[in-house]
Amino acid sequence: MSWQSLHAQEAGRANSTDTAIIELLQAEVEPGPLLQIRKEYSLTGTPSVSGTILYRTPVPNITNALYGRLPGLTVKQGSGEPGYDAAELLIRGVGSYDNTSLVIYIDGFQTTLSYFNYLPASEIESISVLKDPVTLATFGMKGANGVLWVITKRGFAGRRKIQVQMVNGIQQPQRITKPYGSYDYARLYNQAISNDNYALNGYQYKYTPQYTEAQLDEYRNGGGVNVDWYDQVLKKNGLYTDANVVFSGGGADTRYALILDYMRQRGLYDVATNATSSNAQIQRFNIRSNLDFNFFKIFEAKVDLGGRIEDRRYPNFNGPALWTNLARYPSNVYPVIDEATGRWSGTTLFPHNPVASLNGLGWTSTHDRTLQANFNLKQKLDFITPGLYLNEGVSFNTWTRTAASKTATYARFYNGIQTTTDKQTDIIANGATPVDQFDWKQYTLTTGYNRTFGIHAFAGAVQFLQSNFMTDAGINNPGQNTGNNIFYHFYNVNGRFHYTYKERYLLELAFGSTGSDNYAPGRRWGFYPALAAGWILSKESFLANSKWVNYLKLRAGAGSSANDYSRHGRYLYQQYFVSNGSFYTGNSSLAANGGIIQSYAANPDIFAEKSIKYNAGIEATLFKKLALTLDLFRDNRSDIVTQNNDLMAMYGGILPYVNLGKVTNRGIEASASFNDQAGAFDYTAGFMVSYASNKVNYRAEVPVVNDFNKTTGLPVNAPMGLIADGFYDITDFNADGTLKAGLPVPVFGAVQPGDLKYKDLDNNKRVDQADITNIGHADYPRITYAFNLGLRYKGFDLSALFQGAASYHINLLNSAWNQTVAFVNNTTVYPMAANAWAYYPDQGIDTRAVADYPRLTTKANDNNYRASSFWMKRGNFLRLRNAELGYNLPAAALKKLHLDKLRVYISAVNAFTWSYIGEQYDLDPETPAGYPGMRSFNAGISLTF
């Protein structure tokens, strides 16, 4: 199939889906490397989503448009801070305890996650998830964690088309978890401080309040200092705008798509964006020009330029630190403005008045410039033999970031007295400084052959790739030997061969062969083959005339791939020596002798982590209305780079990194979509679910004391901790404050009634780290699911997408420390701790029977606030990710306006969330702390003429 006919098809599809609510069958040609295989004959089952669909979720960061769109892709929401709001992406869950990051290709060339994040939906034709053994084998050492395959929009032959789209929205936090006000703070603080005097009071609970009844009364009646820091710092809404223009068209020899896009997102901070201060903000300017030329009959050239500027501005105070302060500062520390002086309040204990952090420090900004320039030149060698071609490709990808700021400092006052040495200064401009950069040069040379002879159809291609990536030391990868080694080189030679017999029997072979610069000479190349076969049953005579089976395909494949991008670093085959302290010699004046020690033992055999993947699937279309896909997979990882803790102590060196780890990951993906009509109503419904469950089979873990301490045999990152067994009661203690005989003694500091009690699993009468065991699921979901509904009536359409995740746990101490741990380190208290264990009968306080939180304390408590089953909570949630109501002007009206199309719509993103942790603890299940995830309400218009 030529580019031309292909694009005609794509274009036709794009037209038809502009108003469709949900696509039943996506692209005719399945996106993927090297070959263009019609979806019907594909053996890969690659799910795709079109840019048009993604555009319907108006979000600044494209990763947040991917929820529930692609079976097999886990999308985990993160922070909502403008400019830093990427969701975390995983393909088929977690397959390794080393690096699991997926790889991104845009228009056939690898690029970085940061480039992908702010690619506007208006530039995107489609995004696909490559997860099958065959296509991943072709990526060699880049393939093991899966690939996100992005195609940008191209022009097509036909009438010039101009599309103008604009959307505006208001954004609100999904949830703000607010602490108690001053009254409840003071009331509970009295408990906490009394609890802390337990030992001083002769191991008795005696009420020794800090706040008097009069003070409490004042707070209760609205007097005293009672600042709602969130209210002071945040405004109700942030704003979002995106506008773009797409010009496309062309003739037989020249086609073009020119896309301009502007996006601006303003954050939640209640501060003006002007010369001296700034809200959190990102502005993005995109331009993309994708050109196709045919010339001299045998040449097809593609020139794709995608350029972008990202401007970010923030208050000159670290965003995460500001949100930590909001979460930590009690309501009664001071008023925003010191009353005596009219200046910013601040104390040495609470130096960063959150309102002053926005208004008193100036602002900072970063300025990013990105370009991806791809050139492809194809020669059709039909004159040698029909179907033969050559293609040369070059990609230049570059990014730089500079920073500039205008900064000031402010003096802090409390009751008229200056409390810190900070001085009030005028705002000054700091010149632009370079921050980071990368550039990536890739060259490809491809030869391919496509031909059909009667009942045989063959398509095959072989490609050679040279990749040359360079970055700054500052953002280089973690692990050994990465800081200074900023050059990343690799070769990949790969091929893919697809064969169809009688339009029903399918066979595909693929391979990738990668040469990586991470390994020792002679150990640099790895070869990864794959094989898949399929059978289109619906083409067989027994089904050909079936009324209800329109299409039915069985397919299965197996293949290998690898990952050379270990978190442990590079050049692990080299023996390094590193400096290590000093020893002194000399008589009276000592001289230091800098010490040098052998670094980790070199492993000359170190190599890439290996993956063997198996996949079996069914695709079916039934009753011409229902499309079904089911995939089963298994991924056997081996040779995971791991420090070998099995070595005996006598080795005495820093342990070597060895290819020894083994993880098995397996799961199911299923999706279904249905569409039908009832009178003037068109309706669609879709459902998808992905399940992935892994297990570490071997990891040479640090030897453990007891068998149940082992993490081997559990899923990757399975949480380990103590098993909580209620609270200590007063009757558990002797008069001298010691635990009664027979009770196991915890070793994390003295305990008292109301502290968490743990199970002594090894029955040695001590509760220590040798009693830890698995306390729940890991923090990534094993199940993600989504369903969507669509309705169309005349010019109106209505759609909704729900997405959820299940089967995972959140450790409150890891995810929301400040919201969970009350008072410790002068922090505030949240309603979560309202029902803390307390026993002051004279004050009418006795929660012993109903307590769901350990006794309050103002001091660090290593016993209560440590990993245990007590703090593990179900993470399950369901969100309404997107809901949209649209109206398309009827054809008659359009004609009068000289328009091809006009559509207006309103939409809501993340309007509702249902979750256990939200109901029980007032926390968002995905973004429980920090800058919250966004919910938005938008209105848009789209014009084509």
């Binding site: 045998i298 000093s582 020893f583 010699t585 001289a591 492993n603 006598m650 030897p703 453990v704 001590r766």
Partner: protein
């Protein structure tokens, strides 16, 4: 057709340009040091040597910046266990366990990195191009002596341990079992003999601190002394291990081991005093002399020191970066958590050599009585301790060591503050921990000669130390009574020098569970059982501050359970 083929020149050129080049995957030059470069020049090799010294000699000392480190004396009853967060507390109250912290702090496993480092230097030093052969031989001997030191210490703490005789590769068979006690002893002795034959008696001033002949002989002497003491010198170990008894005892009781130990100590004294330039400092001023011997860097009595200079006094700084001085220098609040116990106080004599009469437990006496009795104590006490409401005797007139300079935030009880190693140190934050002092060699000789019945020789050696301390000469000739006197002398002379804990175990003292390592640990409390005050204390009482746990299994340390789980290591009995 020809035109078309011509057009193909473009791709042909592309292929030529991008053809696989081998260098493309080559590692770029960076700034790292590799095995090829580390042993090329003396300057770089010295880095490896320095590291071997530091890591080998730091055994059992709190130099790793740990926030919860301890001193060995925290465990021996000579001082309280320190602050509640130190590692010592759990060991003192609950005993050692195979899954807990052991007295070595960084643990059994961490004995082997310095041993490996020493072997690496020893095996590779010949590659250095600009070092004379003679120096290389000395470096090898130094490394051998460092290895011997770690093994001597492990021998005392663990009994028989696996013997490593080269730098092992990760691919070597590493499941080396424990060697019998005798074999470990023989190895240590022969390593010391080999090293002593090559090592210099003295180093030039700039290199003072490196291994000398006397240091190697001191290692040997310490090993042989412990081989002669009752814990190992027996056919009946402290707990039965059946066929593995040879891992924890020497198989018989042999009086000749004492003769060997005595001769080893004498050989050490001879070498140190004739060629090494060492001597027992005795100018007739006991307070200053003992202070000099324990506190002045590179003084004439030190045979080997841990020369580790933390020049910054830890004040309220970073908890994750506690320098060694934070645990020893009483001007620092962390060190203020350690106070003298009554158990140890009672070992000190009055200046006239008689015993002080301290109040019985429960008897409350006026604070003036406390002050008066403290002033009557012997010079070594005054050089080691600073009683409450007094400026330190060992830094007279120095503002850094006044009563209020070291008061800080201790536990509120205790017989006195500990100021050892800082005599006349003034504002100097650091000190050198004396690993081997000549005085210990004298006490070793005294102990060993007494055991073989050479009473006069024993008294000669003992009295040299007593004389310097300003105490009257001992004339006791009864072996048992003299033994007790010598043991008391060890406790006093070498307080806080990491001897006491193993001395009392290896002597198998009958009262070990009753007020030595186990049982009631006592200290003075003040003002009717309340906390001591900077000034204005009214009275003092001796009280039990806690009951320490002793169990016979604790004669030797446990091997970590995580290492035993690997299946090649026999655990010590009882764990």
């Amino acid at each position: 057709m020809r035109n078309k083929i011509r057009l193909l020149i473009i791709p042909a050129i592309t292929i030529a340009v991008s053809a696989c080049k081998k260098e493309f995957l080559q590692m770029p030059i960076s700034n790292a040091t590799t095995v090829d470069s580390v042993f090329t020049t003396t300057v770089k090799a010295q880095g490896a040597i320095a590291n071997a010294y530091r890591n080998a000699l730091g055994q059992g000392l709190p130099w790793k910046n740990w926030w919860n480190a301890m001193l060995q004396e925290n465990l021996s009853g000579g001082m309280n266990y320190g602050f509640s967060w130190t590692m010592a507390k759990d060991i003192v109250l609950n005993g050692m366990s195979a899954s807990g912290v052991n007295e070595d702090m960084d643990g059994y496993v961490m004995n082997f990195p310095p041993i490996r480092q020493a072997y690496l230097v020893k095996e590779n030093i010949d590659k250095v191009t600009d070092m004379p052969e003679g120096e290389k031989a000395i470096v090898k001997a130094e490394m051998q002596a460092l290895i011997a030191y770690r093994y001597e210490q492990m021998f005392i703490m663990y009994g028989g341990v696996p013997i490593v005789s080269s730098s092992l590769k990760a691919t070597d068979s590493l499941a080396i079992p424990r060697s019998p006690l005798q074999q470990v002893l023989d190895s240590v002795v022969s390593w010391c003999d080999q090293a002593a034959a090559v090592l210099p008696s003295k180093w030039p001033d700039t290199w003072t601190g490196r291994m000398t002949k006397a240091a190697a002989l001191a290692i040997r002497s310490k090993a042989l002394l412990h081989a002669a003491r009752p814990l190992f010198n027996t056919g009946t170990p402290y707990l039965d291990m059946g066929a593995n008894n040879n891992l924890i005892c020497l198989g018989n009781t042999d009086a000749n081991r004492w003769t060997v130990a005595a001769q080893a100590a004498e050989a050490l004294i001879t070498e140190a005093e004739t060629s090494g330039g060492a001597y027992i400092i005795n100018t007739g001023n006991p307070l200053d002399d003992y202070g000099t011997a324990t506190s002045v860097p590179s003084n004439a009595e030190v045979l080997l020191a841990f020369k580790f200079k933390n020049d910054v006094l830890f004040d309220a700084g970073n908890w994750n970066n506690l320098p060694m001085n934070a645990f020893y220098n009483c001007r620092v609040w962390e060190a203020q958590g350690n106070v003298l116990t009554t158990n140890q106080l009672e070992n000190y004599y009055k200046a006239d050599g008689s015993n002080q009469s301290w109040p019985d437990a429960g008897t409350t006496l006026p604070f003036s009585d406390y002050t008066a009795k403290m002033n009557q104590m012997e010079a070594r006490f005054k050089s080691t301790f600073q009683p409450w409401e007094m400026d330190a005797w060992n830094n007279p007139g120095d503002a850094n060591w006044r009563n209020n300079s070291t008061f800080g935030s201790g536990p509120g009880f205790g017989c006195a503050r500990i100021v050892k190693f800082y005599a006349k140190a003034g504002g100097r934050a650091w000190f050198e921990f004396p690993i081997f002092r000549l005085a210990a060699a004298y006490l070793t000789a005294a102990e060993a000669w007494n055991e073989v019945g050479q009473t006069q020789k024993a008294l000669d050696r003992l009295n040299k130390i007593r004389q310097r301390a300003g105490l009257p000469m001992v004339t006791e000739t009864d072996q048992i009574r003299l033994r007790a006197i010598i043991q008391r002398e060890w406790a006093v002379e070498c307080y806080d020098e990491n001897y006491r804990l193993h001395d009392v175990k290896h002597w198998k003292l009958p009262n070990i569970a009753n007020g030595i390592l186990g049982g009631p640990i006592r200290a003075m409390s003040f003002n009717n059982g309340a906390a001591v005050k900077l000034t204005g204390n009214t009275n003092y009482t001796d009280k039990v501050i806690y009951t320490a746990l002793w169990a016979p299994k604790q004669y030797l340390n446990p091997f970590p359970q995580t290492e035993v789980n690997k299946g090649y290591l026999v655990q010590n009995p009882g764990y």
